[in-house]
């Protein structure tokens, strides 16, 4: 038999996937043989995330095609001393350690804190930088130490040592993804303290006029290079190189260049103690359920905004004059054409000083305004699908335009819109995970946090999926029944 065209297509697809898979894998050295591989290739690859910003690894403002930062300088020196070239491989910060284990690059070098938990999982080099955890508060607030903030909301970057400290204390933790955002919220009074590395605090927090950084180190820790468990030889070589750099002053020169040299660098520091891995226990189940409730709340309230606003926009577009119709069209294109993530950022941070919204309020309003644009188009399509005779019959009975809409058009449009509306609601349920970017812990965020705490994605992932389905299934079932009741005359016909 002649191979038909789609068999050929499947083959091409397969080849493309194989080629992509091959090109993705970085380290193909046998276990424990990475150092030999580096020598052979003449190149050491290191994983980092340039989104971490100044001063770690970032795009050079003078030439954005080049990377710069104190870690780039250190890697340049390390590579030079090893007699090879260095190449940075971009990965999201939270994925650096799993990617190292998978073999996507040779080492991790990106503000990786030397914690006991990390040492259980991978090898850590000798430290190349000693940092302090710095507590920032608003000027005028009476707090003198982290313990004065018990019960209050304290922000930090998720998955950092500072975050571990917050979790060990009876504080209400607010996890953030960016360096700037926790300090913005501190200024706006959404959190009462921010605990972060002094590198970040000095650059992003303490320079803000309303912010005061407390002079005492809440804790100290160190940054180390992450190395795969089997690569003992590589660790020994890198430790030698770092020791030599400390001895001959090159490390100090680099740190001074980046204004990072301080008295801490010559003082001893031990391993930071992070909490032991958690079990999927009753506490965690409670946290998952709380997160699920928040996800449901966010989605329901957002939908309660989206449906009437969408209907109004659809009516403006279909029946409004030129002005109303153009206004609705601009709204729809604006909210549908830009990412909801951007809209949430603008609403929460951009307009933070004007609106003073909490994370959940901002999430509900942001998602509601965004989904209104989608609902508007659903209702517009439904209104246009109603036969012309319906509005004619209504007008011929003496009904006003408003009565025609209220009693004839909208109820019939609603029946037509029900299947796509259900679709949108289920989609909204999942999009509500974007609200985690404004420090609200909903279901997906809880899953990510639990996965880190348990050092495994399996159980949290399954729990998260099950909860999403438990949330969405009854709603689609309800919609199905409603549809059956409302649309008696719209049963499918045989084809």
């Amino acid at each position: 038999m002649r191979p038909c065209w789609h068999t050929a297509l499947v083959r091409v697809w397969f080849l493309v996937v194989l080629a992509l898979a091959a090109s993705c894998g970085g380290g193909e050295d046998a276990p424990g043989q990475t150092y030999a591989g580096i020598k052979q290739r003449g190149e050491i690859t290191w994983g980092a995330d340039r989104a971490g910003g100044e001063p770690f690894v970032f795009e050079d403002p003078a030439d954005p095609s080049k990377l710069t930062g104190f870690e780039v300088d250190i890697m340049d020196a390390v590579a030079r001393r090893l007699g090879v070239k260095q190449r940075m491989v971009q990965f999201t910060w939270s994925q650096l350690v799993p990617s190292l284990e998978r073999g996507d690059f040779d080492i991790v070098m990106n503000g990786l804190e030397a914690t006991a938990a990390r040492r259980d999982r991978i090898l850590l080099s000798e430290p190349y930088f000693i940092y302090a955890e710095t507590l920032a508060i608003r000027k005028g607030d009476p707090y003198l130490s982290i313990f004065d903030l018990v019960g209050r909301r304290v922000g930090s970057l998720n998955e950092t040592y500072a975050w571990d400290i917050i979790k060990m204390l009876p504080l209400d933790g607010a996890p953030y993804e960016g360096n700037e955002e926790p300090y913005i919220d501190l200024e706006l009074g959404r959190v009462d303290g921010v605990l972060l590395d002094n590198i970040i605090a000095d650059r992003y927090g303490c320079t803000r006029a309303p912010v005061k950084c407390l002079p005492y180190d809440v804790a100290r820790g160190s940054y180390a290079i992450g190395i795969r468990k089997d690569d003992r030889e590589l660790k020994a070589v890198i430790d030698q190189v770092l020791a030599a750099m400390k001895k001959d002053g090159e490390l100090e020169t680099i740190l001074r260049k980046w204004k990072l040299w301080d008295h801490r660098q010559t003082e001893e520091v031990g391993l930071s103690v992070a909490p032991a891995p958690r079990e999927f226990d009753a506490d965690m189940v409670t946290q998952f359920l709380e997160a699920a409730v928040l996800t449901l709340e966010l989605s329901l309230f957002a939908f309660v905004i989206a449906v009437p606003l969408g209907l109004l926009l659809a009516i403006m577009r279909v029946y409004g004059g030129t002005g109303a119709s153009a206004g609705a069209r601009i709204y729809i294109e604006l909210f549908r054409g830009t990412p909801v993530l951007l809209q949430l950022f603008v609403l929460y941070y951009g307009l933070g000083e004007l609106l003073h919204l909490g994370p959940i309020q901002a999430g509900v309003i942001g998602l509601g305004l965004n989904y209104a644009a989608y609902e508007a188009e659903v209702y517009r399509g439904a209104l246009l699908a109603i036969p012309r005779g319906q509005s004619e019959a209504s007008r011929a009975l003496g009904m006003s335009p408003w009565q025609t809409l209220r009693f004839i058009m909208v109820p019939q449009a609603f029946r037509l819109a029900l299947p796509p509306m259900t679709n949108d609601f289920v989609s909204l349920l999942k999009d509500s995970s974007l609200v985690s970017t404004v420090a609200a812990i909903e279901l997906t965020k809880r899953m990510q946090m639990a996965a880190l705490e348990m050092r495994s994605y399996l159980i949290p992932g399954i729990a998260c999926a099950v909860l999403y389905i438990i949330l969405s299934f009854p709603l689609s079932e309800l919609a199905r029944r409603l549809e059956r009741r409302l649309s008696r005359d719209q049963r499918p016909h045989a084809l």
Partner: protein, 245 residues
């Protein structure tokens, strides 16, 4: 009751109605016949301003219709509540039961209480032979039953005139009779009616007058005996001859 004066309407280049003038007195039943595309339905739909027109005016049930009205002003709505309309495709509201279809406008437009509207609605359903089908939804009714509900819906507003736009054209022959019987009964009750129709026997039976409309004008106007049995104009003769063939 109705007076049409030099009514004209254009569709782009095409003149759909050309200076039509006519009068209908109370209690008359006018059958409007003629070849397709001649302007029968357009003329009917101008009488409650579902269709706008360019020149002339219409006096109907105490109101004056003129070019340039927006189409939904209160005066027009008040007029429409006095002029019923029945459509070729019934246009019942599919999300409402037969009784709800009938009750909606009296309650919303005339502010009749729900209880009164329900009582009147049930009586009307009885009158069109559907006393037991008030709870049925349109898709559960046959075409003939739907059209009878549509007539009851128009009657519920207690109109002074009813406009029928090809009320039996979408129906199977056996269902036409039940609808025509209802219209005939209205005629006996003295209702003023204008009926666009292709049923010559029906026109002959119920009409007090027949208008033959062709190329946007009333080509012939007279009693059924004059117009159908003994047409004077060439247009009418040709039209009726073609029907008999």
């Amino acid at each position: 009751m109705i007076s049409v004066r030099t009514l004209s309407k254009r569709h782009g280049e095409r003149q759909v109605l050309q200076a039509v003038s006519a009068d209908v007195t109370k209690g008359e039943t006018v059958a409007i016949v003629g070849p397709s595309g001649g302007g029968k339905s357009t003329l009917l739909r101008c009488l409650n301003y579902l269709e706008k027109f360019d020149e002339g005016h219409v006096d109907i049930a105490g109101a004056r219709l003129e070019p340039g009205m927006r189409g939904s002003e209160p005066a027009l709505r008040a007029l429409r509540s006095r002029v019923g309309m029945v459509f070729q495709q019934f246009n019942l509201f599919p999300h409402l039961s037969a009784l709800q279809n009938i009750m909606l406008a009296p309650v919303q437009v005339k502010r009749v209480t729900a209880a009164d509207a329900e009582r009147d609605g049930l009586a009307l359903l009885e009158r069109v032979g559907l006393g037991d089908r008030g709870g049925a939804y349109p898709h559960e009714l046959s075409g003939g039953q739907q059209q009878r509900v549509a007539i009851a819906r128009a009657l519920a507003m207690k109109p002074e005139v009813i406009l029928f736009d090809e009320p039996t054209s979408a129906l199977d022959p056996e269902m036409r009779d039940e609808v025509m019987a209802v219209i005939k009964a209205l005629r006996e009750g003295g209702m003023t009616m204008l009926v666009v129709t292709h049923e010559m026997q029906f026109a002959h039976d119920i009409a007090t007058r027949v208008w033959v409309i062709d190329k946007g004008t009333i080509a012939e106007d007279g009693t059924p005996a004059q117009v159908i049995d003994d047409p004077k104009t060439a247009v009418s003769r040709e039209f009726f001859a073609r029907l008999r063939r």
